[in-house]
């Protein structure tokens, strides 16, 4: 076992696109870091900011929200709402001094297995040097 810090990333993945994208990456045997705890949601627009705060509160080192590209939402507009909401959450978290790298959003379609692996790779690479997220984490 190495002592290297392995971040835990909670990823809220839209069932119609990003979640399928991650499956595609899996079945295509693409390699990517295993730091992600995926949570499939019906739409990126259904991700309440409370889920994000709660993930950090319960010890996530990073949180990703991933949905369909603009125009591709299964429910037509969900990802546009998400875009607004996530922008606000991101600003708020940065305002109190959380490292901006720890909270990210991406558009990943069902066909973009490759992009999904890249998003995760980049995410892990960026937050590894930051070390564990202790600011918002519950003391257990």
């Amino acid at each position: 076992m190495t002592d290297e810090f392995e971040p835990r990333i909670v990823a809220f993945l839209c069932k119609w696109c990003s979640s399928a994208g991650s499956d595609l990456a899996g079945v295509s045997r693409m390699e990517y870091p295993s730091n992600v705890l995926p949570i499939t949601v019906m739409c990126s627009g259904s991700v309440s900011p409370l889920y994000i705060f709660s993930a950090f509160n319960k010890g996530a080192d990073g949180v990703l929200v991933s949905g369909c590209h603009p125009g591709d939402c299964h429910y037509l507009k969900g990802n546009y709402y998400a875009r607004r909401r996530i922008a606000l959450v991101k600003k708020l978290l940065e305002f109190i001094g959380l490292e901006p790298q720890r909270f990210q959003m991406s558009w990943v379609s069902a066909a973009e297995g490759k992009k999904y692996t890249q998003v995760i790779k980049d995410f892990v690479k960026e937050i590894k040097p930051l070390g564990p997220q202790t600011k918002l984490r519950r003391n257990q």
């Binding site: 705060f53 607004r84 996530i86 708020l92």
Partner: protein
């Protein structure tokens, strides 16, 4: 200048004519300087009404109580409630109308213009007087407040003891009213988000240091939530049990209620509470500053809401509390909303 006699005259009229069932206004407190909310039911009690710089409360919060009380009554009095509002408070009414929480015909708005000043900050005043007790604070013709202490009267430039929010106010004039007191005076503001710079200019770690210290102070008395006219949810994320319980609610439903926040006042739990509140108020907070005023631990809560107000303006060109017909901030979008942060 607003004359309290004019307000009383109108209050008396609408009560006498039975136009309203009661009026929510301000009266003098028993323990000293500050005003307290008054619920005036009869024309005789109108004499208690006051208007001075200690009328800090955002009384629209009591419209939430009124709605709940009415819902419980079998034969509710359908007449409107009269309510005294300042510019900022009137914008809370707009948001409540926008969210269809209240109906226009259920309120009779007595709007007061703050003109060139506003209301005072009790803590600033105490400091100004070196801990001495003020008996009375009044408006002056100019931009001064007249303070009466046991030593006599003195004039103080309003700016020195004005509430922070009044210094950054763009709505010193009621945007909605049935009758208006005072004049519409334009206000010049270089930067309505100036106070935020103090924090935004800090480094990331300094910002966290600042907020950690603030969050640690919280004792979770929920005064910020209780005083806020926008915090009208039946059940809040911090409540320990389901409030919306009926005879049909199953044990499983109750058991499965997620405990998002522990009751312990630790940094992490206080963070979730205040952040849920901040994000829930994004595009709804009208900056009445009540949360910050009532906080017994002096947590600068207004910064969180102000930050959201600023981002709503800068990212989405959205202003809360001016137009009851506009969709709320997070239930609308524009194609050109920024997405440079998305991968």
């Amino acid at each position: 200048m607003v004359k309290v006699e004019d307000i009383k005259k109108e209050a008396k009229r609408i009560l006498k004519e039975g136009k309203v069932k009661y009026i929510i206004g301000y009266k003098k407190s028993t323990n000293g300087l500050m005003s307290v909310p008054a619920f005036i039911e009869s024309p005789e009690d109108v004499e208690n009404l006051i208007w001075d710089p200690t009328c800090v409360y955002n009384l629209t919060r009591f419209l939430v109580d009124e709605k709940r009380r009415k819902a419980r009554e079998k034969n509710p009095d359908e007449r409107p409630v009269g309510i005294v509002v300042k510019g900022c408070d009137s914008r809370a009414i707009i948001v409540l109308l926008q969210e269809k929480f209240i109906n226009r015909e259920n309120i009779y708005v007595l709007g007061i213009s703050c003109e060139t000043t506003g209301v005072l900050d009790e803590k600033k005043l105490l400091k100004k007087l070196n801990g001495k007790k003020a008996e009375k604070v009044e408006y002056d013709e100019k931009d001064n407040f007249i303070i009466t202490t046991l030593d006599g009267k003195s004039k103080v430039p309003a700016d020195e003891i004005l509430a922070e929010r009044c210094l950054e106010c763009r709505a010193n004039f009621p945007v909605i009213n049935d009758i208006l007191f005072g004049e519409k005076v334009d206000r010049k503001l270089d930067n309505r988000f100036k106070s935020l710079e103090k924090i935004e200019s800090l480094s990331k770690e300094k910002r966290w240091g600042f907020w950690k210290e603030q969050l640690d102070k919280c004792i979770r008395c929920y005064a910020c939530r209780s005083v806020c006219p926008m915090c009208y949810c039946d059940e809040c994320v911090v409540d320990t049990i389901n409030f919306a319980v009926t005879a049909d609610t199953t044990a499983e439903e109750k058991a499965q209620r997620i405990k998002w926040v522990e009751k312990s006042p630790t940094t992490s739990e206080n963070f979730v509470y205040h952040f849920v509140r901040a994000i829930h108020l994004a595009g709804r907070c009208i900056d009445c500053g009540e949360c910050e005023r009532v906080c017994p631990m002096d947590i600068p809560l207004r910064f969180l809401n102000k930050k959201m107000e600023k981002e709503a303006k800068e990212l989405f060109d959205y202003d809360a509390g001016f137009d009851p017909d506009q969709p709320s901030l997070v239930s609308c979008f524009k194609d050109e909303d920024p997405e440079d942060f998305i991968r």
